[in-house]
Amino acid sequence: MSNLEKYSQAFVDAFEIEQGALASNLEYNSIPEWDSIGHMGLIAELEDAFDIAMETDDIIEFSSFEKGKELMAKYGVSIN
């Protein structure tokens, strides 16, 4: 599985949504599933998938599907 596939799968698993619901404009609070509670689930899925531990500042900054890719790079994970 590529990093992009793993990254996308984390969103699917965290929010129990279909792959088709993922879009580049997906952002925090844009869907009911991505609220603060869902956000914790997403972070946990990403940390498990990529074996990383995210810092609080990055958890807070992780505001969208696209922004998340930038932040993952800080942990040595290239999403493309």
Partner: protein, 358 residues
């Protein structure tokens, strides 16, 4: 203000999430919240009030701000991330409320209020948002004005409650529509209309089950039965915006049970007594005499609170209610003492390791 705007809260919430994941989705002995009754005076006369406010019970007492400050520090050390400020009706005395918010340092907690909404206008909502309140739960019983007003004992209370939610939303706080569900209304049009209204307006529905406590002590017929509970789960899955303290909020299949939150969310009365939950009027300590940690450790000595319960003890466990919640005259100001009511076989003195903040 959202939870994610408070970095300290994000850390603690994350620790809570991590604990729950590692503990098979169960709350165990993880401390999560404080319910604080600021003052028991209220402008309404709700039929089901669990604090006996309509009877004018202890309406003058208020916890000292210094005690609130200390308790908030202790709560933070225990990893507690949420505070529910309630009454009575806490907007009757906004001076006490804002003093409390200042004393607890709202940057450290996800703060919410439970209110009947009567005094929540746009200006108050703005002030609360600025003071760091994240969410406001407004209690509503029906989408029919007369039904709600009669239940609450005051004409005009429904309109105020409905408007309050709008003001909360406009001020940038999370609006929660609080509903109480019992055997008498689980399948009713009232409940259906309320959850629909909540969903349509992008609110969250906070579901509390009816409990035979306070004004309804010994009225066990109001408790939900198996069919009612199954219906609540169906609604949970259908609407996806319904929360309940008993349910695992992180489960996106909308099925898992966190467990009863007794002692995980302690209830503090205006005289400093600490009860295991707002609806179970059993005392485990007093904040004027002991630290929160000591009180929590004491609370978890008692097996019904230490062991995982899939049932809400006060709202679903008829045996628990019959054995421990029907002592004559029990109120939040005259609670039963845990030490006195639990037999030896219900006590476990093995020390509890309260989880530290991650």
């Amino acid at each position: 203000m959202a939870l994610l705007d408070k970095p300290i809260v994000v850390e603690k919430f994350r620790a809570f999430h991590s604990y729950i994941r590692k503990n098979n989705g169960q709350i165990g002995t993880k401390q999560r919240g404080i319910d604080l009754n600021l003052n028991n005076a209220c402008n309404l006369r709700c039929e089901h009030c669990f604090t006996n406010s309509p009877k004018g019970d202890h309406v003058k007492e208020v916890l000292d701000a210094d005690v609130i400050r200390r308790v908030a520090n202790e709560a933070h050390e225990l990893g507690i991330f949420e505070w529910d400020l309630q009454g009575g009706e806490l907007l009757l005395r906004p001076d006490i409320l804002f003093e409390t918010l200042e004393a607890m340092d709202t940057s450290r907690f996800y703060v919410y209020l439970t209110t009947n909404g009567f005094f929540m206008d746009a200006d108050m909502a703005k002030r609360l948002a600025e003071a760091g309140v994240n969410r406001v739960s407004v209690s509503i019983d029906s989408m029919e004005e007369e039904v709600h007003d009669e239940f609450r004992g005051k004409k005009g209370s429904w309109k105020k409650a409905i408007e309050a939610l709008k003001h909360v939303q406009e001020a940038g706080m999370s609006p929660y529509l609080n509903i109480t569900v019992g055997h008498y209304n689980a399948f009713s049009e009232d409940i259906k209309n309320l959850v629909e209204y909540s969903k349509d307006n992008d609110y969250t529905t906070l579901l509390n089950v009816a409990t035979p406590a306070g004004m309804w002590q010994k009225a066990s017929e109001i408790m939900v039965d198996e069919a009612d509970k199954a219906h609540l789960i169906e609604m949970r899955k259908k609407y996806k915006n319904i929360l309940r303290n008993l349910w695992n909020p992180f489960d996106r299949k909308y099925e898992d049970i966190l467990g009863c939150n007794t002692v995980n969310r302690m209830y503090i009365t205006p005289v400093g007594d600490v009860l295991v939950c707002p609806y179970v009027h059993i005392k485990i300590g007093n904040v004027y005499e002991q630290s929160l940690r000591e009180i929590a450790e004491n609370g978890f000595r008692f097996k019904p609170f230490r062991e995982h319960s899939k049932l809400c003890l006060a709202g679903e466990d008829k045996d628990f209610v019959k054995n421990y919640m029907e002592f004559e005259g029990t109120t939040i100001f005259k609670p039963a003492l845990a030490e006195d009511i639990f037999p030896e076989d219900q006590v476990d003195n093995t020390p509890v390791q309260l989880p530290a903040t991650a």
